[in-house]
């Protein structure tokens, strides 16, 4: 068993989401320290409010102000907060039914310890100092034994209502590419390009993915291919990609390495972009410390006959 390769991988994206009229009013309200619910057809007040009745699917738009005080309906003690969660000290997750509402809102409850939390306890909203129109405008709930707050009579009309949110998402992985691709990557570090042969149809796949897509069986026999190959088809890239210091236009090509039954792709250099052609014979160019060919350049051989690569297009 070859050494298992691993590398950190972060997947990160800011999701930009538009809001419906009820969501917009609710989140704008939080910015203004007003909590709004929505009334369903059967007269229940939903907080947090939704655009459609969860029972009948009717569109619902009747906004009703509720209060920032409420009652815990269930809770769970989180002694080890995780990244992104509302508090970085131990806290309780809680579903809280705000006074005037018929449903509960999920948020954090800041309490000293699990012995200080119980279902039925009274809590109130602790507002975030910086509020932008997001669920995190509620910093958390906190224990509260005072009077039930009164609604201010807000009708849900705001100056400059927000119409969307940006929700950043980030997930961290430790990626491992598996047996076949690990072997491929390991061979690349010796500047060798190694594919795998299907035991059934005998085709050589490079880069290998571990399985023959025609036969559905594992590939295993390693076959060194290239280093020379043939351009089977190509395109001319005219748009400069972000963070890429390659001048445009340049050519990106499918290259059938000698001995391979599947073309891989790479950039073509060492030749003006408008002289690249199908059948051009090329070889990899490795730059210092590179772990894969930087690009492919012409070998100077005569072009390959179309018949020799037409099955690899």
């Amino acid at each position: 068993m070859p050494e298992v390769l691993k590398a950190p991988l972060t997947v990160e994206f800011p999701f930009t989401r538009s809001l419906g009229p009820v969501q917009s009013a609710f989140l704008t309200g939080l910015r203004e320290r007003v909590v709004l619910g929505v009334r369903t057809g059967d007269g229940r007040i939903l907080v947090p409010p939704v655009e459609y009745d969860p029972v009948t699917a009717e569109e619902i738009r009747d906004l009703v102000e509720v209060t920032p005080t409420g009652t815990v309906t269930t809770w769970a003690w989180n002694h080890a907060p995780r990244r992104g969660q509302p508090l970085d000290t131990p806290f309780a997750w809680a579903l809280v039914r705000l006074d005037g509402a018929d449903t509960a809102l999920l948020h954090a409850l800041d309490a000293p310890g699990p012995g200080d939390v119980h279902t039925g306890m009274r809590v109130r909203i602790r507002w975030a100092e910086q509020r932008t129109g997001a669920i995190t405008d509620i910093a958390c709930f906190e224990p509260y034994d005072g009077e039930r707050a009164q609604p201010t009579g807000h009708l849900g009309q705001f100056e400059e209502p927000i119409t969307g949110i940006v929700a950043p998402a980030r997930l961290d992985y430790t990626y491992s590419p598996g047996r076949a691709q690990s072997a491929y990557i390991k061979a690349l570090s010796d500047r060798r390009i190694v594919g795998e042969r299907c035991p059934s149809c005998r085709k050589v796949y490079v880069p290998p993915r571990g399985a023959c897509p025609t036969c559905g069986v594992a590939t295993g026999e390693q076959v060194e291919v290239g280093p020379r190959g043939t351009v089977t088809t190509f395109c001319i890239v005219n748009i400069k990609a972000k963070n890429l210091d390659i001048e445009v236009p340049y050519v990106y090509a499918h290259i059938a390495l000698d001995g391979a039954d599947l073309a891989l792709h790479g950039r073509i250099g060492g030749i003006p972009y408008d002289q690249v052609r199908m059948g051009l014979r090329v070889e990899p160019v490795w730059t210092e410390d590179s772990r894969y060919p930087d690009h492919y350049r012409p070998t100077g051989e005569p072009d390959a006959d179309y018949e020799t690569y037409k099955e690899l297009l």
Binding site: M1, V4, K6, L9, V11, F15, R17, Q23, L27, L46, V47, P48, P54, V55, T73, T74, A76, W77, N78, H79, R82, R83, G84, Q85, P86, W93, A94, L95, R97, T103, A104, L105, L106, H107, A108, T119, A134, I135, T136, A167, L171, D172, Y173, T174, Y175, S176, G178, R179, A180, Q181, R209, G210, A211, C212, P213, T214, C215, G216, V217, A218
Partner: protein, 349 residues
């Protein structure tokens, strides 16, 4: 619906905490070969292929297309994918066979949770406006449900520990399971749930083959006939729901015909101990029913495959003559958000 359709074969990997040395297709492929071998079918004999998986688990974009290499999908086959547990892929395949467009179907699912932090990954399936920005992890949400049951007087921590112990004891007979036998109930993860109340995190895959009518009888000595499948969903707001009950499971079971006659076996997809209690109540299962003889999701929980495995385990018991009428349940989402129920029967013996 005049066509009888059966599960005729089932296979699964050994479920393990990590599978670093294998890509997803490398993990999946032996299971595909295994399930085909049970029936003597070749890939080319399969009328329809449907899979369930999620790219978010391993952080590998379009992993389901790479997994198709293991099927032998070139030249192109009739194929579909759901970004859901494989039980829902089975539902699609069952529907396809009902239409008469295919006589056999291969259904598979896989999950490779080891590269990521699955508690965090699962937050990304939550309501993106009001819930996901708080990053409430999967154990936290299950803990809210468990506390609601405790507050309602329906269970307590020792009873939850007993569910875990019974599941992992049952798993001693299941060589594929990840947690078997005596497992310490451990410390709180999110109170009231302890490590023992939570499913193991692991990698694995499973596959079943469906066949219609006489084809099923040719391929399997005792086919597990699917008498009904239905799936239903709760309101998406956690605070709208009664977390101590699962009306969607009850409705799905009713529509699948589960209450028409008693079942002798139930494979329930309850990743957390407290959820088994909710499901037993919703499905009206009494002590005469053998619940999770495989050990269930508390013994092995390859996400995206664990629901399909419930169907496969129930079917396999019918194949072996250990059950005549079994219920299989699959779930998805937080706190039993979505629920699928299938009812399987063997021919009279």
């Amino acid at each position: 619906m005049t066509r009888d359709i059966a599960v005729v074969a089932f296979a699964q990997t050994d479920h393990r905490r990590t599978s670093d040395e294998l890509s997803e297709v490398e993990m999946l492929m032996p299971v595909l070969h295994d399930v085909l071998d049970h029936t003597g079918l070749q890939t080319a004999d399969i009328g329809f292929t449907c899979s369930g998986s999620s790219d978010y688990l391993a952080g590998r974009a379009f992993s389901f297309t790479l997994a198709l290499d293991g099927v032998g999908a070139w030249p192109p086959i009739s194929e579909s994918h759901v970004e859901m547990d494989g039980a829902w892929a089975l539902y699609e395949a069952w529907t396809k066979l009902l239409t008469g467009e295919a006589d056999t179907a291969l259904v598979y699912a896989y999950g490779k949770s080891s590269p990521g932090s699955v508690r965090d990954v699962l937050t990304r399936q939550l309501d993106p406006y009001y819930v996901a920005p708080l990053w409430p992890d999967s154990v936290a949400l299950a803990a809210l449900q468990a506390q609601a049951l405790i507050d309602a007087g329906e269970t307590d921590e020792p009873a939850l520990a007993a569910v875990a112990a019974r599941s992992r004891t049952a798993a001693q007979d299941n060589s594929h399971a990840q947690l078997r036998g005596s497992v310490p109930h451990g410390e709180y993860v999110v109170r009231p749930l302890r490590t023992g109340d939570c499913p193991p995190i692991g990698d694995g895959a499973a596959a079943v083959i469906l066949a219609a009518g006489e084809r099923a009888r040719e391929l399997c000595a005792r086919p597990a006939w699917i008498r009904g499948v239905d799936h239903r969903i709760e309101a998406h707001g956690l605070g709208v729901r009664d977390l101590t009950d699962s009306p969607s499971t009850r409705l799905a079971a009713e529509r699948a015909g589960a209450f028409e006659r008693p079942v002798d076996t139930a494979e329930l997809h309850a990743p957390f101990t407290a959820q088994e209690l909710v499901l037993r109540k919703a499905l009206r299962l009494d002590d005469t029913v053998s619940v999770n003889p495989s050990g269930g999701a508390l013994a092995a929980h390859p996400i995206m495959a664990a629901g399909l495995i419930r169907v496969g385990e129930a079917a396999a018991r019918i194949h072996r003559g250990e059950s005549d009428r079994a219920l299989a349940h699959a779930t998805s989402g937080p706190c039993l958000q979505q629920n699928l129920v299938a009812v399987l029967e063997g021919d009279p013996r």
